[in-house]
Amino acid sequence: MLNYEQLISRTIQEIQPSGIRKYFDIANTMQDVISLGVGEPDFLTPWRIRNTAIRTLEAGKTRYSSNSGLLELRKEISHYLERKYDLSYHAEDEILITVGGSEAIDACIRVLTNPGDEIIIPQPSYVCYEPMAKMAGGVPVILETKAENDFKVTPKELLEKITPRTKILILPYPCNPTGAIMEREDLEAIEKVLHDTNILVLSDEIYAELTFGEGRHVSPASIPGMRERTVVINGFSKAFSMTGWRLGYACGPKEILKQVTKLHQFAIMCAPTTSQHAAIEALRNCDEDVADMIAEYDMRRRVIVKGFNDIGLTCREPRGAFYAFPCIRSTGMSSEEFCEKLLYAKHVALVPGPAFGQGGEGFVRASYCYSIDHIHEALRRTKEFLDELK
């Protein structure tokens, strides 16, 4: 009998699986659930993108691409980032195509981290940063963002977390699950704090296209003085409804990208070639498809925010991504208790805020990757649940 515990790396064993697995298991097996639980677009990948993939398959374009990805795609990304976010990256040596944004985040963290290096992670945020930091031998330093600051990273909070060991600041904006964004002046304030340090910003901008209201997404790398200390992560999953294609990218100073590419070459070889061809089409010819999807998300966003506020769950206006993050403290319950009871009583599935870090306590995440009718039904059942509590 093998001793598996002894076989498996201690670092990996010490990483705790998500505490809400049990709640997820119940939700996933329950029938007639009205869920607002999935952070994945309900739209299909636009047909022209799928069709391009089919054509390249027919033409037999199924070999490895270069390690960095098809040059044609990197050039398109370079144009796209310039056009959309005023960013300038060389296709040849400053852009790497990866297997989703996730691979890019993982690879960047591993490339930058020496054992004991500190990585500042704002929370609530997507769940991958902390385990990735630990796997790289780094020390996650959690920065709890506050509702009263619209879940932004403030210069004061950042300053408190910086030590001589700080290596990376993760900036996960637009933010899953809070819907928060960082505006130009917020980022300028961050730049001032980082100005004389040797800290790199890893900016996860996977939701960049999904920014609502006044003004567009501002990339930290577009702030004067920030480009040299920023790696931008983006991808195709959210903006183009291409989740299953697994395609993302990292852009940054060539000194860093060279090393990230080296790691990618050994671990991955190259991102899926079919997906890369599809992505070229996405960037070249799908602005209108994206605009239509964004208009639809925006409509749902307004409806769901008003819906939560109307039934007595205070909900700030999310400015990005596709999540509402209402506060449930008025019920006197914890987030997990609220979600579990709501699931059992009314078969409505939401995600408890603390699944994204302890700072999420008192909140729940509601995705609006669902039709208006579906959202109304979930709100109606939630209202019933709240009424019965009284």
Binding site: N28, V38, G39, D42, A295
Partner: protein, 161 residues
């Protein structure tokens, strides 16, 4: 808000005034008024259900009829088009570029009825010089909506990303 409102209604005419108002950032009164004005101006012409009649026991037969006509001096195709449009059997009438003039969509209970309608009514109109009837065998997409079997939501119930 006009364009945005029309786009939203075009996608889903059942959105409530309340939803439209929230989505557009307008008051309900303003939205209701705009809809009234659009109706009065003849821009918003109606709200109809999209029905897959094939799933019903008593289905319809429809056909696309290509009409070649001799236009009238002075009134062009208007007069004949308006006349064809009068029939209850006629669902739509379009003036076409290309090898024929009017595209007429006709619906009736049976193939026979459609054929008789074309023979007795359309082809006997004085200025109609020829007709060609194409029966619709199956509908795959109607008014932007694919009519194939609805796929279940593959995304599962809950995820963190």
């Amino acid at each position: 808000m006009r364009r945005k409102l029309l786009k939203m209604l075009n996608k889903n005419a059942r959105l409530s005034i309340a939803d439209l108002a929230v989505a557009l950032g307008e008051t309900e009164a303003a939205v209701a008024n705009e809809i009234k004005v659009l109706e009065e101006e003849g821009i918003l012409r109606g709200y109809k259900a999209l029905i897959d009649w094939e799933k019903m026991d008593h289905s319809y037969v429809s056909a696309i009829i290509e009409l070649k006509v001799t236009p009238k001096v002075g009134r062009g195709f208007e007069e004949i088009a308006e006349r064809v449009a009068q029939y209850n059997e006629v669902e739509s009438v379009y003036l076409m570029s290309g090898t024929y003039d009017l595209n007429v969509v006709v619906k009736a209970k049976t193939f026979q009825e459609v054929a008789m309608f074309v023979a007795k009514e359309l082809s006997t109109i004085e200025s109609v010089t020829s007709t060609a009837t194409h029966f619709v065998l199956r509908r795959y997409k109607e008014l932007d909506v694919p009519l194939a079997v609805k796929e279940p939501d593959e995304r599962g119930t809950i995820s963190l990303c």
